[in-house]
Structure formats: C-alpha cells, structure tokens
C-alpha cells in the first residue's frame, strides 16, 4: 500500500512508521505543523508543535529513508480544535481536544488530503488494534487510546493503519532503540499540546476574559465563594474552589454543575455526583447495533469501563449503569465496548 505516516516527533509514530516500512509498504512521512507559532523550542511539556519535534520527526524520516514533508495545518487546527476547545468551555462543557484533533485533523484533513494525493491510508502511532474495520483496545491497557479513536467513522477507519496495537509502550521503546531511532527514550507527551505550560485555566482566561460569578451550595442555596470564570472548573472537580464557608457537614464539596449564562458554579457533596443513568447525543456506530444493548461504557479518557445497558434516545442514548458512577462532565465521549472491542461513541450531555 501507499501509506502516509504522520510523524509527531515522538517515539510511537516513529515506530509505527518503521513497522509500516518493514512490512513492505511505500511510506511517505509528514509532520503536522499545528501551532501558529511553530518557532518555539519547547522543553518540559512537549506537544505536537515545537521546533524540536519537527526536527525529531525529520530525523526519523532520515533514518527510515523515506520522503518527509511538513504540512501546515495550523489554521485548521486553530479553528477546528483550539477555537472549539474554548467555545466548549465557554458553554460549560469539558471537551477532549485530542479526540477532536483525531476526528477533524488527523483522520479528516490529513486523510482526505492523503487520499487525494494517491495514498491508500494514513499510519499513526496510536495505541489501539485495528483489523478488518474492528477497533480494539491496545494490549497495553495503561496506554490504550481506543477511546480517542472511537469517534472515527468506518470510512475513516478503512483509511487508517495502526501498527502498534499488539505492542506495549515498553516494547515500542525497545523497538525504537533497536532501530537506532533517537526518540527511543523521549518522554511521553502529556496535557494539551497547545497549552505549553499546562495552565488550562490561564489559557481560557486569556481568551474568554474574567467572568466572575458565585459559587453556590446546591443543598443550602447559599453563596459559599466567588470565582473568576466558570470555565476554569470541571464537573467532579474538588480542588481550587477557594470556598469561604465550610460545608455544614464539614465534608469536602465538589463541582456539581456549571451555568455559563449566570456564571454560576454549583457545589455539593460527592454523593450528589453519583448517577445511575448517563445520557449522550450524536451517537456514531462502528457497526450497526441492536438496542437495548448490554455492554460496557467508558466515560473519560483514563477511566475504566462500566457495565451498562444502552437504549436508543433520539440521535443518542440513555445509558443505564449497573452500579452508580461519578457523573461525567458534559462534552466528554461515552464509548461503548464489548470486551475490548469498540462499538460506538457519543457525546455526554452531563
């Protein structure tokens, strides 16, 4: 096959590209320039946009002996991922930008362009297994990324090659070292790649401005604190609330809800977060499903899967949990699994 390998400059995509070359495919590498200011040499928190990453990606292509190009997708990334991220927070939801980037950039903009240029598929270093249109968890449960790939359509998955699903992260690093790839011991990326210092609240404050409002106790209805912007909070959050009055029962309080119009943050006890039903909209099925469906649902990127029964509801689902779960923030993905197989995804209503 003619494959386009997306090289981030990290170890996973490097090994994925190497495996594609060794499997006999005709591989061309691209590095996606996603930052509108790529001339930043970043240390510490590394993302997908620094000069160092571009150089590392280019070196990997050199070692593999494949053509290498840089594609400037900064404008697309800004409008489809960064602006969306900000707008979602402004609306009181908690988006997952990696998922959005997969959906809009890597497997839409890049895949569409690759196909138009004559490539059969895009190769990435995601940790997940994909064969015959069936997406499964990686063998490395700790590194599994099937959750952030679950938004892809069958058509997108048909143009995707994921060579790393059968490898653990440790094995990926060994494979990189064995091939003399300099990125073998490069640290994993964390956090949101376009927020270099990890200060999401500060990033949002810069774009949305201060929107001060009250922190209200859900049980008593009294104002128990003030905040500079509801967007700095996520449902389920406990830290950083700076409450002025202790709870009557003296127990910790958690964010229960965000009301962007009045800029109100409601807080309350942990039990108030527990739900036995979650609703989700805009469902996407990897294969046709029959409801009611007994399966498991994962509600956040690093969460576990909870046994559930799903019924169809409009363009989404009502997910009945076998045991109470912590209510997910609105805007997260609810991904259904049968064992390690991904069935479908939808967006939580919160």
């Amino acid at each position: 096959m003619r494959l386009l390998a997306a090289l981030s400059g990290g170890v996973d995509s490097a090994v994925a590209a190497a495996l594609a070359v060794e499997a006999g495919h005709d591989v061309t590498a691209v590095h996606l320039a996603l930052s509108s200011a790529p001339a930043t040499l970043r240390t510490g928190s590394r993302g997908c946009c620094s000069k160092e990453d571009a150089r590392d990606a280019g070196r990997v292509a050199d070692v593999l002996g494949v053509p290498y190009y840089v594609w400037d997708l900064a404008e697309r990334f800004r409008s489809d991922v960064v602006d969306d991220f900000v707008a979602e927070y402004a609306a009181g939801r908690t988006p997952n930008p990696c998922l959005r980037c997969n959906e809009k950039i890597k497997f839409t903009a890049v895949l569409d362009r690759a196909r138009a240029l004559g490539f059969d598929a895009v190769v990435t270093g995601h940790h997940a297994r994909l064969a015959d249109g069936v997406l499964r968890r990686s063998v490395d449960a700790g590194k599994d990324q099937s959750y952030v790939l679950a938004v892809l359509t069958p058509e997108q998955l048909a143009g995707t090659v994921l060579p790393l699903g059968e490898l653990t992260k440790a094995q990926v690093r060994e494979q990189a070292a064995a091939r003399g790839l300099g990125v073998a011991d490069k640290p994993d990326s964390h956090d949101v790649c376009f927020i270099a210092d990890g200060d999401t609240a500060g990033f949002l404050r810069q774009r949305l401005g201060a929107q001060p409002g009250p922190v209200v106790d859900a049980l008593t209805g009294t104002v128990v604190g003030r905040h500079d912007g509801a967007y700095a909070f996520t449902v389920g959050q406990r830290r950083g609330l700076a409450l002025t009055a202790p709870a009557p029962d003296g127990r910790p309080r958690y964010v229960l809800g965000l009301e962007p119009v009045t800029s109100t943050v409601t807080v309350g006890p942990r039990e108030a977060l527990e739900v036995i039903e979650v609703r989700a909209d805009r469902a996407r099925e990897l294969a046709p499903l029959a409801f009611p469906l007994t399966c498991a649902v994962q509600l956040q990127a690093h969460g576990r899967a909870h046994p559930c029964t799903v019924v169809a509801d409009g363009d989404g689902w009502r997910i009945g949990l076998a045991a109470p779960v912590t209510r997910p923030a609105a805007g997260q993905a609810a991904v259904l699994y049968a064992g390690d197989r991904v069935l479908a995804s939808a967006t939580t209503r919160g």
Binding site: H31, A39, Y69, L117
Partner: protein, 383 residues
C-alpha cells in the same frame, strides 16, 4: 560541483592535510597555503572584473550579505550619525532582509523596502525618489543582481548610477547571477557584491564579498584579521581554491550555458503553458535577457505548492516552493507578495531550476508528469 572544482578541492585538501598549512602562518607550509589563497583571490577577481585586493573570502553568501549590510551601515553611521536609512528591495534574499531588519531592531537603522513592479523589478526612478527624499541620511542601498525565486534581473547598472550620483554605497547580492549572467564588477558600478561557491559549481561553505577598496566597512568577525582586517578566521584553503576555479570556469562557460539553458527554459515554459490550463508564469515573460536563464516560476491556481512538491518528488522531479520557517513550515513567498500576488497565489507557486546538468530529457519528464500532478494536487486542496 563542476568536475574541475572537485579535482581542485581534492588536490588542495590532500596538500593541506599532508602539510597542515595555515594560510596565515609564516612557515613554509603556511606560505604554500597562502599562495593557494592569493592565487585564488587573483583568479576570482579576474573572473568577475574586480581587483584582487577587493576580494574578501567569507564562509558563505549569507556572511557576505551580512558583512556588507551591517559593516557598511556601521561605518557610514559612525562617520555621520544622521545616516541611518537603508534602502533595500522588497524581494531581497533573507540574508539581506533580516540583516537590515536586525539593524532596524537593534541599532537604530530605518529600513525602507523599495517597491518592485509586478515582474519583481526595482525601477531606478523608485530608488531615485527614495534617495532624493534626503540623500544625507542614506547609509546604503542593497538590491540583488537577480532574484533567486522568480529570476528577475535587476537594472543594476542604472541603480548603481543613481547611487553614484548621490555618493551612496551600493551593495548587490549576485549569488544567483555569477556564472548565469555576465557580471563585471568594475563596469557595473556596484561598491560591494556578494557571491557564493555552491551556486556556481564550487564547494559549499565558502563565499566572497567583493568590496571596493574605498568602501569603509566594519568587521562582523574580530580576531586575526586574515582578510583585509575585515574578516577574521582561518580560511578553508581547499574551499577557497575550489570557489576560484569554479568561478573562473563558470564565467568562461557562461555565454554557452546561458544560450543552452534559456533555450531549454523557454521550451519548458511554452509547453507548461500549453498543457496546464491556468498556469501563470511569474516574473519576466520569456524569451528575455532580463530573466535568469535556468529559472521558470509558475503559479498553479487552486493547488498548494506543498502537494505539487510531494507529487513531483515522487516522480524524481526536484522543485522548490520557496522558503520555510525553522520548523519546516512553508511560508508564502515574500517575493511574490511584494510583486502583488495574494497569499493563495503565493502558496500555489513552484520554481523549476535548470542547471548545468539539465537536459532536454529532464524537461520532457517534467512536462509529461505535470498535467496529472496539477490535476491531482487540485483535488487535494483542503476545503
């Protein structure tokens, strides 16, 4: 590299390694190295119509441009602090653009970018008008001999005449011109001229600034003062020798090369315009003496240069989309923007360069591949 330059460099490297000669040393080995350097200086000077004492060897064309722009600005400004103004064309290479901008950002210079017409040419009247606004505050003028992207040849003699009239030093980056066009420093009237080895079939990592003997210039690199007390640093003797041999051969063969390349290029342009609907030639229409002979530069509307590059590369046709930032992101060409193109057109552009190894078969291969490549690239534009 020209085969003759390879031979010269190889012989000089062998000699240098066995004798470890440093051209600035006084012992025997040093004397022989110095002899190589001085002979090279004479040879290079003769090739470009300069005096040997006017040749300053440097590490690159970029260094020569920086030395000319910064060095002449510093000297002129020291002699008279009112002289702060730099007049440079908007289509200069980054080595001139960024050096001038640096002086503006750090040393109190003011830079005026001389406007070009839609073919990329600086009109002498534009220069005259800019100088006349206040001749006493102009530190220097810098206009390249020929543009590296779109190939437009500047009216250097007439621009130099304007500078001479107002007694303002004139620098010209002739990196693209030497070996492609007739370049005679004395006849051109330029005060400083940049050239580099690898653009004329010589080695990488060596350049020269031809600097008039009366032109005051402050050094960038301080130390042993090896080159006329203007440029310090031990010279790479083999590279200097290779540059001089390549330059003299390139100049000797220039008329023949010009005739052959411009013939191939005109054919390429004609066929591309015939076979690719919408292709627009940027720069001076051909045939013309005002365009570098091996240069063809097109915009292919509704395409991205990046896609064209990838597709042509896969067919072993090497082309260039212009400059990229340090992370490798292609930037819309400042040259095309200065010529009045919008960003989309600038991003849809591609340069085809023909050189001394190019053949009619290369042109055939390109012309055969191009229509399908452009068609495919049009489909790959992100919506």
């Amino acid at each position: 590299m020209l085969p003759e330059a390879v031979e010269t460099v190889t012989a000089a490297v062998t000699a240098a390694l066995s004798a470890a000669g440093n051209a600035s040393s006084l012992h025997t080995a040093g004397r022989s190295a110095r002899r190589v350097v001085e002979e090279s200086r004479e040879r290079l000077a003769a090739a470009v119509g300069a005096r040997p004492s006017e040749v300053v060897f440097t590490g690159s064309g970029t260094e020569s441009d920086n030395l000319a722009v910064k060095g002449i600005w510093w000297s002129r400004h020291d002699a008279d602090p009112r002289r702060t103004r730099i007049l440079a064309s908007a289509v200069e290479h980054h080595a001139v653009l960024d050096a001038a901008q640096w002086l503006a950002d750090h040393e109190g210079a003011s830079v005026e970018w001389l406007e070009v017409d839609d073919q990329g040419r600086v009109h002498p009247d534009v220069l005259r008008e800019a100088v006349e606004r206040d001749p006493s505050d102009v530190a220097l003028v810098s206009v390249m001999w020929a543009n590296n992207e779109v190939g437009t040849v500047q009216p250097v003699r007439r621009l130099a005449d304007v500078c001479r009239e107002f007694d303002v030093p004139f620098h010209s980056d002739a990196v693209q011109a030497v070996g492609q066009l007739p370049v005679d420093v004395a006849a051109s009237g330029v005060d400083a001229l940049t050239l580099t080895g690898h653009k004329l079939g010589g080695p990488l990592g060596v350049g020269a600034l031809v600097l008039g003997r009366d032109v005051a210039c402050t050094p960038l690199l301080h130390g042993g003062g090896q080159e006329r007390d203007l440029r310090s640093g031990t010279l790479d003797t083999p590279a200097v020798a290779g540059l001089a041999v390549a330059a003299s051969l390139a100049v000797e063969r220039q008329p023949e090369l010009h005739a052959r390349l411009s013939g191939l290029r005109d054919e390429l342009v004609r066929r591309v315009q015939e076979l690719v609907p919408g292709a627009v030639l940027n720069g001076v229409p051909v045939p013309s003496a005002d365009r570098l002979p091996g240069n063809a530069h097109f915009s292919f509307p509704d395409c991205e240069g990046d896609s064209l590059l990838l597709l042509l590369d896969a067919r072993d046709v090497e082309v260039s989309t212009g400059s990229a930032c340090s992370a490798g992101v292609a930037r819309p060409s400042h040259v095309l923007l200065a010529m009045g193109a919008d960003e989309d057109r600038a991003r849809s552009s591609l340069r085809f360069s023909l050189g001394h190894t190019s053949t009619a078969a290369d042109v055939d291969a390109l012309v055969e591949a191009l229509p399908a490549v452009v068609e495919r690239a049009r489909r790959a534009v992100l919506r």
